[in-house]
Symmetry: C2
Subunit: 232 residues, 2 copies
DNA sequence: TAGTGGTCTAGACCACTAA
DNA sequence: TAGTGGTCTAGACCACTAA
């Protein structure tokens, strides 16, 4: 017996062959069918293992072209995007949410662009703070489209965070997500209780449903925040 | 006919039912077998669609417990980790690499910890710069374990970047990856040709093979760098 | 302990694309 | 155009775990 019980075993075996340099970068693997015959399992089991390796960015598969080890592996990592409340509570801290401002306003140029709109649209502009054990954790600057989500005007944002309300009532089918490092401006520094110019991690997220914009939000994490990713 | 040709069609249909709020957050879906019967396809096709939704963090599946819509969707995003040279060339710029320093040195406390070592280990300490069209793009501060990778001493790091050599010659099976925003210190600012205190995005990555440390690297991107992620 | 989802198998047909 | 991988199907058995 070769001890293969599972597609995971097949994947582990192929990974081992890669680590042992039996396959050079850029080189082809045998056909799935041949590997299956060699290991004495079904082709679909090998296929399952190879697809997993392809998802991780380790091999490249092409119909007729076969499977090859990626010459320069550009591996993929997974980010788990948390709900801030659950993230904070998960670390054992008390979560609080504070509404700083709430105002109807047409989208400024930058937000109009982020939401891929041809022109400015009526929005609800919300600024809020998420706190962990009373300390500012995340400053949120959010624009919500009143064309797509007019009901947001009836929500009491002092008790429910806009984020959680949207997540539960407004599913999206398209999302753009980006991170960058920025020096805190006066407004942000004041909100987070830090010095102006302090380096902070900014997250920008915009979401759509059926092509209609839901919200564009820019969050600024308090200094020291680390974003961790998981690599296959 | 219901127009189902593919597991992707099944996934699209289930997604649509979620968007249409036919299933409330936290609520159960019918059993795979029942959905399959309803759609007139095999159970394995529904399984394939549901697994994809589970991978994206949209539904939760449990044996005997069935499939439910996640109450508070913590969705997953994918980061494609590039080779810096390919990233820069992909943007249409000329890539250059400059070795700033190269020195045998025992790992300092911080690196020892990052590499999960019980005590300091002999390392090769390398500082290098990746340039795009002659402009500093990424400053790299790397420690390579000489216990695991003694061959690195024979590599000419002025012509090959340590990153590319390692990627091609030293596969890893474990990787830790994190990002944070930091104010550039004098050394970093000088290397990147920016002002001290400027906010920069720092990436920390450490890799292992069979539990032995390969390398721990801290890269600092030039200001303006955006990290983009893909959401299902 | 009973009822889910997880996986495997063998065979079939198809879509894509290297040659 | 011929040879890969992609997908589907029906049936089987199993692992896990809610009840």
């Amino acid at each position: 017996m070769n001890g293969i019980r599972d597609w995971r075993d097949v994947r582990a075996l192929i990974r081992q062959r890669i680590l042992d340099r039996e396959i050079a970068p850029g080189e082809q693997f045998p056909r799935d069918a041949d590997i299956a015959a060699e290991l004495g399992c079904a082709r679909s089991t090998v296929h399952r293992a190879m697809r997993s390796l392809a998802d991780d960015g380790i091999v490249e598969r092409r119909r007729r072209g076969g499977t090859r080890l990626r010459p320069l592996p550009s591996r993929n990592a997974t980010l788990h995007i948390p709900i801030h409340r659950l993230d904070i509570e998960g670390r054992g801290w008390r979560y609080e949410h504070a509404l700083l401002s709430r105002r109807q306003q047409r989208s400024p140029r930058e937000v109009t662009q982020r939401l891929r709109l041809p022109r400015a649209e009526p929005c609800l502009h919300v600024r809020a703070l998420h706190l962990a054990d009373g300390r500012p954790w995340l400053y949120e600057n959010r624009w919500i489209s009143l064309v797509t989500v007019p009901e947001i005007l009836d929500v009491d944002l002092t008790t429910t965070s806009a984020n959680e309300w949207l997540v539960q009532h407004r599913p999206y089918d398209d999302c753009v997500l980006a991170f960058e490092a920025v020096n805190a401006d006066t407004e942000t520094a004041e909100a987070l209780g830090i010095d102006t110019g302090c380096a902070v991690l900014v997250t920008e997220r915009s979401t759509w449903i059926d092509g209609s914009p839901i919200t564009s939000v820019r969050t600024v994490a308090a200094p020291g925040y680390r974003l961790e990713a998981e690599v296959s």
